[in-house]
Structures are given as C-alpha cells and as structure tokens.
Symmetry: C2
Subunit: 336 residues, 2 copies
C-alpha cells in the first residue's frame, strides 16, 4: 500500500521527485523557490492561461482514473495555448487534496500529469498545495509564440470561412459511456479516449499562426453552440453553420450526432476562420487530423444553423458551470 503523506512538505517533495530534472532554456528556476523564473526567446511573446479542474464539477473521482485526471488537467489548459497558436513551455500546478488522496491517488495523478507534460513539452515550474475535502486542481500554462503572430478571437471578418478540426461530439459521447447511460448502442473506443485523454491541437494551431492562415481562432471546450457565439461576439460578426457539414460521429443516430456536434463539450478541437483567399491552403487533413469547413462568418450578428434548406437561430446548449454540473443528479444528456 502506498503510504499517505501527512504534511505539505512531504507532498511537495513527492511532486519534486516525480518531476525531477525538468528544466529547459525557457524555465530558468523551477520548483523550490518563492516563484519560478523564465525567459521567452528573442522575438517571442509569452502566452498565459489558467483552468479549473474540480472534482464533481469537471471530473468524477470514481469514473476518472487518477492518471486521466493528471493528463486532462494539463491538456485542457494547454488547449488554450494551442488556440492562440502558441507552444506551451511550463506550468504551475495548484493542488488541493483530501488526506486520503495523498497516497496511491496522488502517484497515479502525478504520473498522468508527467506523461502529458512530456507529450506537450511543458515543464512543471511550481505551484501551491493545500488540503481540502474534495480534489481541487488549477493549472496555469505559460507558453511562447512569435511576436505578433498570435491568432485572437477578434479577427474574423464577414465572408471568412469557418473550419473545425477533428470530429465533434466525441468527448461527450465518451462521457455518456463512462456514465453508462442506457440505450447508447455502440460507442467507439476513440470517444472514451478523447474524453479522458484529450490531445490539444498544438501543431495545427502553431501552423495556422505561423503562416497567418487563420483570421480568428479558439478552442472548443464548452461546445460549438456556446463557443462560436463568443468568437463572433469578440469579432463583432455573426456566423452561418451548415448542419450537413458538421463532422459528426459516424454510425450513430443522425439527429443525436448533430446534437452532440453542436452542444457536446470537452472536444478541445480548434475552431478557426479563414479568409477566402487562404482557403485553398487549408487541406482536408493536417498531419492526419481532419479539417472541415462548417460554415462562414456573416456581417449580421447572429449565429444561424442551416438545415434542410431552413435557417434558424442556434441556441447555446453547451456547458455553463453556473447551470451544469457533471456530478449533480438530474444533470443528464449533454449537461443541458
């Protein structure tokens, strides 16, 4: 049995041991001091983001292996760096734990976190640890990108074409399977994997930014119907989505696939706008990842869904933490 740790110092030493030797030219001073020191390369900007990952709200202790909690808390924060076109470099981990999670759970969590950190090229730079009734996680990721190449949410113009990476709704489908909801039918393994171990689209984001191919970009964390209006609002535009074009899960009920694609959260795919002149440079795949044109940006500040020749306003049924909760009873399909 893995012994539980009894003081903050023990936990910090365990973290330091598992992440030992994590240094880089970007991160000059990491754990063990009052603060971390880092330096962006010449001509680079620093990009910063933070994300909550809370037990019962964003994950369930009995459904999510500790390894997946470690992976996902970093991957989802790094997805915001991808959405700007940046490369993650280091992260701060704020961890609050019940005493009974300081043994085996903590080890599993740290190993999953280290796997994600290595995969994403992102070093642990420090953090804060405390005790709490539930597991509370907050991750800050610090990245780099070439100065003036960041892709903001605010750059979309009427006439730009809207693209999305990957397949939409897979993570939500994976969550359903994890909750063993009834009448699911066949759920592809890829859905569960995507829900537990999302892969932020870093290479795609960096390629779009470096080549100035996207006029606006964001990552899809709360669902297309909640996130697209945010991009439109920041750009002062609207959008028209074509239902038939949405990249949905194959071989499931058509209507359900559309709902999942529109409202399902946690996909961490990239949504981006492209000027028509740049559209020929966007192939249908980027390093094996599907890129799909799903609609266009409009002058009229509405988000419309076109389906079967009819156009109607798209309601935001994605994730809102003030309305939804993963662990709450009655919070079912699509967390609406």
């Amino acid at each position: 049995m893995t012994p539980r740790l009894t003081g903050e110092g023990d936990i910090v030493r365990k973290i330091e041991k598992i992440f030992a030797g994590e240094q880089s030219s970007f991160l000059r001073v990491g754990m063990g001091d009052d603060a971390a020191l880092c330096r962006a390369g010449r001509g680079q900007e620093t990009v910063l983001t933070c994300d909550w990952f809370l037990e019962g709200m964003h994950f369930l202790r009995d459904k999510h292996p500790p390894d997946a909690v470690g992976w996902k808390c970093l991957a989802r924060a790094a997805s915001d760096i991808a959405a700007m076109g940046g490369a993650p470099r280091c992260f701060l981990l704020s961890l609050a734990l019940p005493a009974n999670c300081t043994g085996k759970w903590l080890i599993g969590f740290l190993l999953g976190l280290r796997r994600a950190a290595r995969r994403l090229g992102c070093r642990l730079a420090g953090g804060d640890t405390t005790r709490w009734k539930e597991i509370l996680i907050n991750v800050t990721v610090i990245g780099e990108l070439s100065a003036a190449r960041a892709v903001l949410r605010s750059g979309a113009h009427a006439g730009d074409l809207l693209y999305v990476s990957g397949t939409l709704g897979e993570a939500e489908m994976g969550l359903r399977q994890l909750r063993r909801e009834r009448g699911l039918g066949h759920v592809p393994k890829a859905c569960i994997r995507k829900y537990l171990y999302p892969e932020p689209r870093l290479a795609l984001g960096q390629w779009l930014a470096l080549n100035r191919l996207a006029s606006a970009m964001m990552d899809l964390s709360d669902g297309l119907s909640s996130d697209l209006p945010r991009l439109c609002s920041q750009s002062g535009v609207g959008a028209r989505l074509e239902a038939a074009r949405l990249p949905r899960i194959p071989r499931i009920d058509r209507e359900d696939g559309l709902k999942l694609a529109l409202h399902g959260g946690d996909d961490y795919e990239l949504l981006f706008a492209v000027r028509p002149k740049n559209a020929p440079k966007i192939a249908s795949k980027f390093r094996g990842l599907a890129l799909t044109r799903i609609g266009e940006i409009t002058r009229e500040k509405k988000v419309l869904l076109e389906e079967g020749g009819k156009s109607s306003p798209l309601a935001s049924y994605g994730w809102d933490p003030f309305r939804n909760c993963l662990g709450a009873p009655g919070c079912g399909e699509l967390r609406r």
Copy 2:
C-alpha cells in the same frame, strides 16, 4: 439589492466591466480571449507564482469582508514576487463561487481586488470562473525583474547575517482579534489591518535585488519557524536566531510576543540573508519599514534559537495546511 448573476458569461462581463481599461506595455492582450499575451522588457526575466485562497481554509466568509478577500488574495501572491526581487505586472484570477455570492459579495470582492491591483501595479490578464459550494480562489501573478538579479532561497552562506522586515506576529494577532478570542487585552489596529490588508514588501525586495544586497530571500507566509528552515534547506545551511532581537509586537506579554514572532503566519514580511561586507548598507529602516538583524546563517544544518544564554533547536509550529485549518473547530491559537 445587487442582483445575482446567473451564468458564467454574466460574471465574466461584470469582471471585465470593473477591470475595464487595464492595459500596459507588458500586457498586450488581456481578458476576453483564450489566453493572455505579454512581453517582458529587454533584459528582463519573467517571474511566476500562484496561490490558493480558499474559504474556510485561508479565510472565513463571516469574518473577512469581501473587499479584504479581494485585496489579500492578490497581495499574498504578489508577496512571492517581492521575495524574488521582482515587480508584479499582471495576474490571472481563477474564481469559483456559490450562486449566492454572485451579487453583492462579488462586487465587494472585485473592488478590493481592483484596489490591490492598482496599488501593486498589476493588471488583470484573464482567468477562469466556475460555480462551487464554497468560495475558491486561485491567483497567478506574473512579474518582471532584471535578468540574473533574482534573489533565490538557495544563495545563503555560513556567516551571512539574517534580517527581517517589519514586526513579526502582527497578522496572527489580528486574526485572534477577528476571531474575538478571549483574554487578548489591547490589540493594535495595525494588527487587524495587516491581517486583512497585507502590503507585500515590493520596494524592499526590488531594492535588495537590484543592488545585489541579499544573498538569499523569501517571504514569511507560514511563520518564521516554518519558513526559515525552508530557506536553510535550499541553501544547504543552518541558522541561529537570537530571541531577544526578534521584532515583536510591543506592549503585549513578552512570552506571547515571542511565540507570535516565531510561529505566527500571514505577515508577508521579507526574510533575507546579507553577506557581512554588505551589512553596513542595510540601515535600520527602509522607507519607514523597520529592518532588523535577527541572527545569522551557520554551517551546521540546524535552526537554533538562542534565548537567555541557552541555545535550543527551533521546532516548526507555523502553518501547515495538512495539519491546520482556519475554519476547523479546535484549531486555535497559532493554528498549531
């Protein structure tokens, strides 16, 4: 009555409104995008830290005005930047709130936070908001300092003199007063103010770093008896404290004053080591703030307290979140 906000978007808009116009040459893109963009000046390094501030663990909703919660969550994180010798530039706010705190409480909190942000020269750069049963706060502060001037915990040598700023134990005394503990006698107003509205010692830290006067430095958040061993451990040294020299609260019981100075938390004063040749440059005051020599660094890796001609090992009775809790019953004096 201030109406409660019902969705994440409303809360983000409220925060954006209160912090509108917060930009700087350091912070290029702030709130409203996937991530923030910033750039350190030429020849500057970036310094990073994060801190939990949790209801019931670090503050009590019925004892701490929302304004003080806002002030303190930023001030204590900025204190880590002071401890490296840096200047805070911007911060990320992660906030989780019960629905009944999204009205008046939120406004009070944001106004206190804004006051601290302006005082510390630190802009809101972004964050994450979600719902929770209690108030959970995590603050990441990003600062700047001249390259290679950071003062680490690891630079102390045997023979260095140990200094501390301000008076020790005041914040702990302020907490006692706030909890209306019995038999307190007279508690100076300054103690309550220091507990609720700590002032990170930014100017002092920057002066020491820029002039290379401190060989090692840290801020005192958990209490001298817990924090000094950390500095010693990082430097591979020990220390000898002189009880009679500790800057303690005047006009209270002598023994109690010593306990408070040794173990009281939340003071956010700076503890620093100075080579003997630099000692003449350390005056007894820096811009009105007392600087006191309290002992020296030793080769022997022990922390000793000298009192009345006797020397004994100093036990760490400061704050440890895995052993203490502000809100827990039976967690009394000095949170031992």
